[in-house]
């Protein structure tokens, strides 16, 4: 994947100042040899002390992957990726046994990112929102390159029977749950990247909410790519038993480098009867520099199964980062009266490309889905919404509402909307609305005449444009997301 492999010095010199998470942590790391083959997969599996069945599972996925080719239907362009020219495992050498033993360098890294890993700090209210108020505690699983380095509030959550840990730990401690659900929503051979992920996935989070339990705090995973020439293959699995409720948030950043790095994740959600899973993402991978050098390739498969009656899965994503985003968080609406939601803001600035959207697969009767997509393009950015709404013959009375709005800033960017509607049920109702607009000169002038700088004016207007989606984010993160939108658009006007 490193299209260009240059020295660290060069990398640091391309720093253009707007990506504030681009620093590197200097820490002793352990790598698997470069490249991808069965031995590497055995290496990863051994490192993680996995049972035989999982190694077999990985090897089957690898075989499937070898027979597949990269999807080319998305509206994104990039040079061929050399899958042998990357590391598939990178982990800090010192592995903590408890939170107290986490390497101070790592603690510093996460503190710098605004993610305290010390439970006491949350509890003492040291952590504050940008507006200065104390934040409610959030349980965090911190994934650093290939491994989870810390998970907070585990004991507190265990009191309610909630399991929140890294997937590696879940494989060891709760093998029956992992075996039952892993790959049950996204089969390994579902697509090229899911097969790759299934073969080499390293870490990610595992969440299990028992019957009738309402998770008492936000759960979140913070993904950090740090090592050079390293791919991150995260695997997340969330299971919500009948009547349970959980809100989960995922955040991501990476250092600035002029090579492209691959992030190919698989996220699976399972909601049983009347369970609700709210999954929010604030994706802020390094987007590359102003000339389009470097940045993360974010090729992600996210899918939730509403297995039970009246279950609900809600995806909210704010996608500001990555050089390329290829991502379609989807819902399979099996249970009668189940509900799927997709709220998305995707920004492309400079040379970023995003092809993102959702799939709502209506299988059960009276299933409902809502899709609200806001695409913002600036600079030379290309933004495509691609969405599928499929209504099976059995989904009587199913309903979908889709709204896709695109906002263009400048005249060198592009916005594209590609809706696929397959309705095979007479009684179903599918509605689709789409708009494309530009930030009007009179809006900018109005704001500036009130004292706002042009960039603040754009930020305000864009945040207004995205309001329907931002209000879906947990309160704790909405303010940060708003700031992020503004930062992502720096340099897009004037």
């Amino acid at each position: 994947m490193p299209a260009v492999n240059e020295t660290l010095e060069t990398v640091q010199s391309v720093t253009q100042g707007t990506y504030k998470w681009g620093f590197e942590t200097d820490i002793e790391m352990e790598f698997a040899p470069k490249g991808l083959n069965e031995d590497i997969i055995r290496f990863i599996s051994r490192k993680k002390g996995e049972p035989e069945w999982l190694l077999e599972w990985r090897l089957r996925a690898f075989k499937a992957w070898q027979a597949m080719s990269e999807p080319r239907w998305a509206a994104v362009k990039y040079p061929p990726i050399d899958y042998q020219d990357a590391y598939y495992y990178a982990a800090p050498k010192r592995r903590p046994k408890s939170l107290d033993e986490v390497d101070p360098e790592l603690l510093k890294t996460y503190a710098k990112l605004g993610i305290p890993l010390k439970e006491q700090e949350w509890l003492a209210g040291v952590t504050t929102s940008p507006d200065g108020t104390a934040r409610a505690p959030v349980a965090v699983d911190a994934v650093f390159d290939s491994v989870s380095v810390a998970t907070t509030f585990k004991e507190r959550l265990e009191k309610d029977g909630i399991i929140f840990c890294s997937i590696s730990e879940a494989v060891r401690e709760h093998p029956e749950l992992v075996r039952r659900y892993l790959g049950s929503v996204v089969p390994p051979a579902d697509n090229f990247y899911s097969a790759l992920n299934s073969a080499v996935f390293t870490d990610g989070s595992f969440v299990y909410i028992p019957k009738g339990v309402r998770c008492p705090m936000e759960l979140s995973t913070y993904f950090r790519i740090n090592a050079k020439s390293t791919g991150q293959f995260e695997r997340t699995l969330i299971i919500a038993e009948a009547g349970s409720h959980v809100s989960y948030l995922e955040g991501c950043t990476a250092p600035m480098r002029d090579e492209n790095q691959l992030h190919a994740a698989v996220v699976e959600l399972v909601a049983h009867d009347e369970a609700t899973i709210k999954y929010s993402t604030v994706q802020n991978w390094y987007p590359g520099d102003a000339e389009g050098r470097g940045g993360i390739y974010n090729f992600v498969t996210k899918r939730g199964a509403c297995r039970g009656a009246r279950s609900k899965i809600s995806w909210t994503q704010v996608e500001t980062g990555s050089a390329i985003t290829w991502k379609y968080p989807s819902c399979i609406l099996q249970g009668p009266d189940s509900v799927g939601e997709f709220y998305s803001v995707a920004i492309t600035n400079n040379f970023q490309q995003a092809d993102t959207g959702t799939k709502m697969i209506h299988l059960g009767p009276r299933t409902r889905s809502t899709i609200i997509s806001k695409g913002i393009s600036a600079g030379h950015g290309q933004n495509t919404y691609r969405g599928l709404v499929r209504i099976s013959p059995k989904a009587v009375g199913a309903r979908n509402f889709t709204q896709c709005d695109s906002l263009l800033i400048g005249d060198r960017c592009g916005a594209h909307t590609v809706p696929y509607i397959e309705n095979r049920c007479m009684s179903a109702k599918v509605e689709h609305e789409a708009t494309t607009s530009r930030i009007a000169e009179d809006q900018l002038f109005y704001c500036r005449s009130r004292g706002l700088s042009e960039e603040d004016a754009v930020g305000l207007i864009v945040n207004g444009f995205c309001r329907e989606v931002l209000k879906e984010l947990p309160m704790e993160f909405a303010v940060e997301a708003q700031k992020l939108l503004q930062i992502s658009l720096e340099g897009s006007v004037g």
Binding site: G132, E441, Q443, F445, S449, R450, G451, L452, L460, R467
Partner: protein, 249 residues
């Protein structure tokens, strides 16, 4: 003191302002009247720095400061406020957020501390009450779905919050019923004093019964054709612009 000298401006290459001379001493309120299309809004936009309104000659200074050299936001920071004839809608942007962002931008520029959400809300409520406006105005998106009168009152609310030293009110009276007109006029009158200078643009004399100007200027065909005291407004109301237009043509 606002001083405009020999100001000419063009839109789309078409000359609109053809040499404006106007001086408003600090603390005074002057009215600019004129028929439709005479260039009143163009003058307002030129003073506020709108793109596309190209200054082709002359000057405009505020206490010696060259207004025309500044960006619109810098003019706002220097104390200028334009109440728009057609206030602009900002979908999804909460009125409170907008007002607080604007107020804090101006306060920053003045070297004053920014207000947090609570402090702002207290201040905004006070100003709303003074203008007999309902508090739910703060929750709605800026000007979206506002009636004509609500939009105009929202402009005055902004002015009351930002407390400019120089205000240009562009036909803030048009579309208002008599009660709303009185509220708007009270809002302006409440600000009058040695530190408040204003240019009140209007088509009708009606507003000037409530905001009594120190001077009245008549703009026709991009030029000030007459200036006088408040009685000039009543004369125009009686006799119309026709005579002045014929004279200017």
């Amino acid at each position: 003191m606002l001083k405009i000298e020999g100001l000419t401006a063009a839109v789309d290459g078409k000359p609109i302002l053809k040499g404006i001379d106007l001086a408003v001493p600090a603390g005074e309120v002057h009215a600019v009247m004129g028929p439709n299309g005479s260039g009143k809004s163009t003058l307002a936009y030129v003073l506020a720095g709108r793109e596309g309104y190209e200054v082709t000659g002359g000057s405009a200074t505020w206490d010696g400061l060259d207004l025309l050299a500044l960006e619109p936001e810098e003019r706002a920071a220097a104390g200028l406020f334009l109440a728009f004839q057609y206030p602009v809608e900002l979908p999804g942007v909460g009125n409170a957020t907008f007002l607080r962002t604007a107020l804090n931008a101006i306060r920053r520029a003045r070297g004053e501390p920014e207000l947090d959400a609570m402090q702002f809300l207290r201040l905004a409520r006070e100003r709303l009450r003074a203008l007999s406006m309902p508090e739910e105005m703060l929750k709605r998106s800026v000007n979206v779905g506002f009636s004509g009168g609500e939009k105009k009152r929202n402009e005055i609310l902004q002015m009351a919050l930002l407390r400019p030293r120089l205000a240009v009110l562009d036909e803030t009276d048009s579309g208002l019923d008599i009660d709303a007109l009185r509220i708007v006029a009270d809002g302006v009158n409440a600000m009058r004093g040695p530190d408040f200078t204003a240019l009140v643009i209007t088509h009708y004399q009606r507003l000037l019964d409530h905001i009594v100007p120190d001077r009245v200027h008549v703009l026709v065909g991009g030029r000030i054709v007459r200036s006088g005291g408040p009685e000039l407004a009543r004369e125009l109301e009686r006799e119309g612009y026709a005579a002045l237009q014929a004279q200017a043509a």
